[in-house]
Symmetry: C2
Subunit: 269 residues, 2 copies
């Protein structure tokens, strides 16, 4: 077990060094297993109090697991050596609510008024479900999980609001209760699903036409299960049209030093 | 069960009306059972982003369960009709980090730049422990739970930091594991204890000399059990010496409309 920990830590360090140097810019699904991976939003401090309010009021789609100091690219509660300017494999820049460019480093774009907010991510519960023998079709088929806009209203927080984005995974009916129980253990990773069954009931017209990601089949003995999704926060940030927002590119998450099973997501030496 | 709900809601409404009218200014321990009660801190918006950072980085002593809009005395995610200017039985005002006065209404002190932050409170887990047959000595003896400064360092968040304040309850050794399990179910109410046993190990010199509250005896077959305490946040606010902070008076909490057992502390109609 200690050997395994040491191997994990060495692999983590090598992976982060490669990402930092720009030598790895791929997605992070399945990498550094058992470490908490994070959605990242970086925004000007003038909007940060409202954004934290919004996230705190919508904890299922937007579970805050870390916040940086204004102008400081470190995230000491998520790891001892994180520099958010370099440590994501791939970033997206949005100006005035519109996609501007995708980059692999943001040192050139960093501003002294920037605040980094880290949110939990679905990789955590997917790993736990797979470990429990519950298959994830998009993983087996090497697809990006399908994501949908819904009619589920969000709590307004300052200037941020709108409706929830969800991800969908088809499960066999008999797996649903256990999947709910397992996911409920990870409130910092979207927690239990928000809806099981009829997509129309939450405002989704066609499961085969996701708004993000790629469609996966739902077999006759399966039901579609919907989880609150981190894209919700990106959506809210873009709708607000603020001057500059930087996020991770989909699937290209921050790999933190926090164990996924940690009761409290605060890094300790 | 529905009758019970109706009775609870009627009692809640009557209690809040009495508090709002200034007709009840006593403590709230044991009132409105099964409703989430909250520590309250009200501070100028200029310090609110730092305070949220501090709380998010120290979720055991400072579990955020609600945040108001700047200048808005309502807390819609904690209940449909809350007005924080009137709805605590008793408030304390601190100016420049020093106690100024205790009042039963803050309408005269409310400012357009104020932000209300609500944190979970120990009443939640105490009720759950008592329901499980684990006695709470300070409740049985009608005392305020003893609280202590410790050497446990907090994560710094902006201008806020310092060390943790804990509360202590003596438990029989055989009750400790079950108490930990039960409390772990309430992360929004300080969660599992932070320490069991030797007070000196966390920097407490004398159990019979608490820094707040009243001492209770630890019997030979008992161990002292320590929980992260909401006074931690008040301490950090006062140490920062900001111009005006308003808090609840100890034990005089906000009674929210949220069920203590709610998976997510967001009020829904």
């Amino acid at each position: 077990m200690q050997d395994q920990d040491r191997n994990t830590n060495q692999a983590m360090a090598a992976l982060r060094a490669a990402i930092r140097a720009g030598d790895y810019s791929g997605h992070t699904a399945g990498l550094a297993p058992a470490k908490l991976q994070c959605n990242i939003a970086i925004l000007p401090a003038a909007f940060a109090l409202d954004f934290l309010r919004f996230c705190l009021r919508n904890p299922k789609p937007c579970p805050i697991v870390g916040v940086g100091e204004t102008g400081d690219p470190s995230l000491p509660t998520l790891g001892p050596d994180i520099d958010i300017r370099h440590d994501l494999p791939r970033y997206r820049l949005y100006r005035d609510g519109k996609f501007a460019e995708e980059v692999t480093d943001i040192a050139a774009h960093w501003q002294g008024d920037m605040v980094t907010v880290a949110l939990g991510c679905s990789f955590t519960f997917e790993r736990a479900l797979i470990a429990a023998g519950i298959p994830m079709r998009h993983v087996d088929q090497n697809l990006t999980v399908p994501m949908y806009r819904t009619g589920l209203p969000l709590e307004q927080g300052g200037m941020f609001g709108g409706t929830m984005v969800v991800s969908m995974r088809p499960l066999r009916g008999g797996d649903v209760p256990r999947a709910v129980e397992i996911c409920a253990r990870y409130p910092a990773a979207h927690g239990a699903p928000v809806h099981v069954g009829d997509p129309a009931a939450i405002g989704i017209a066609a499961l085969d036409q996701p708004d993000w990601g790629e469609a996966v089949a739902v077999k006759p003995d399966e039901v579609p299960v919907f989880w609150a999704c981190g894209v919700t926060s990106q959506n809210a940030l873009l709708s607000a049209g603020i001057p500059l927002v930087i996020t991770h590119a989909p699937g290209h998450m921050l790999i933190s030093d926090i164990d996924e099973d940690a009761a409290t997501p605060i890094w300790k030496p």
